[in-house]
Symmetry: C2
């Protein structure tokens, strides 16, 4: 069943009114009166609705059922990635992180980032749209937020505020990811931090350790920068009982 | 350090001789005499070598150190995927499965496969090359094998021979993936089975159940056909202690 996100205020009196891009989308999908769709308020509530009327500017629907969306994990994971070089990789991280259950995705700048956007904020609109499309397709109850974290130190500042901060690093003195996660099964918030193409500098890992993050290993296999966040996020979901 | 795979027979008397495509690759990478590379015999042994001479047809290297490759997981996982429509998705499944630690990847044909290759064998050479490239980059000790499993029933025949067969399915009566994995931590071989774009037909899931596979859920989030195998494979690696 097709899913859409909309502001809760457009639903009232047993009816739902969809406007703008989503109204067009309903038109493009050639949904016909009598067909059902799910409208999600983006805060964890699903409205199962039947289409009454579909026009380019507005679609009118009858609300059949209101229920909590069960697709949201019990842990809010923030995925923090050193900005990769190509937009292919950025897009991939966004789409797959949303599928795998991230609450929010943030990119940051660090020593080995080749891509140095002057105005990363300009990309946010496109990034957010990718997250929204993935959220629809995956049946998420929220649209994960995409944002720009700033410099490495700004990223650390975000990560330390979470119940658990996992800094994935390929070398040196590290904790086993599974042991850290087994000891933290009841966390409510977590940060998963991965590097850009060339990984992190040693001083960056030292800094992350100093502020209290767990420097973790994911084994001997070297994961690409776009693969590591998905694998780490999946491990968190699995360990906290959110993959079953 | 650059990694190459080569047949064990090209190494002998403290020297290694690389020919063909890999010799060209060493040339293209502009590796110079005195630089070190790792040559892997594809069966779990790494040879750390120093380049003596690099020509288009042959590179000559001195073997400095011989040691087992520690990147191979303790469990051999066969990833079995209903053939997706686009080659983008096929390539993605191959690359990411190799990164995440698969021993082999097999595609099969089932009811909802849109892609119906007359001669899937013709694609094997390309698929195998993608697996080899990913194995090099990831630092794997073997080149995971890519093959065509045939029809759905042929695929079941492969899966039932493994210590544990996990059939990922989005609906109906299913076991929790984490509970199944916790009860099977010491497996040596496993099969992870995921569907094409439209998923599996109910009769296919029933058939899988009948032959003894575990019909498993990965939660309420609907994963794309190219994402599901990576997430499931990662869960197996995590549960068996191969992600740390």
């Amino acid at each position: 069943m097709a899913r859409f996100f909309m502001a809760g205020t457009n639903i009232g009196g047993g009816m739902a009114y969809v406007r703008g891009r989503d109204a067009e989308h309903i038109k493009v999908l050639r949904l016909r009166p009598g067909e059902d769709v799910v409208i999600c308020d983006g805060q964890g509530t699903d409205y199962k609705c039947r289409l009454i009327k579909s026009e380019a500017e507005e679609a009118e629907l009858e609300v059949l059922e209101v229920k909590p969306c069960t697709a949201e994990p019990s842990v809010d994971v923030t995925v923090l990635c050193g900005l990769p070089k190509g937009s292919d990789r950025t897009d991939y991280i966004l789409q797959k992180s949303v599928e795998a259950g991230a609450k929010e995705i943030m990119f940051f700048d660090c020593e080995r980032c080749v891509a140095k956007p002057d105005e990363p904020e300009r990309k946010l609109e496109r990034w957010q749209r990718i997250a929204e499309e993935a959220a629809k397709q995956t049946g998420r109850g929220i649209i994960p937020q995409v944002s720009w974290a700033g410099k490495f130190a700004d990223m650390l500042n975000v990560a330390v505020k979470k119940d658990l901060g996992l800094f994935l690093y390929e070398t040196g003195d590290r904790e086993r990811l599974d042991i850290v996660l087994e000891a933290n099964k009841s966390i409510k918030t977590a940060a998963v931090i991965t590097g850009p193409e060339g990984g992190f500098e040693k001083y960056e890992a030292d800094l992350a350790r100093t502020v209290g993050l767990h420097i973790c290993s994911m084994g001997e296999r070297i994961l690409r920068c776009e693969t590591a966040p998905i694998v780490a996020l999946t491990a968190v979901m699995y360990a906290t009982g959110n993959l079953s």
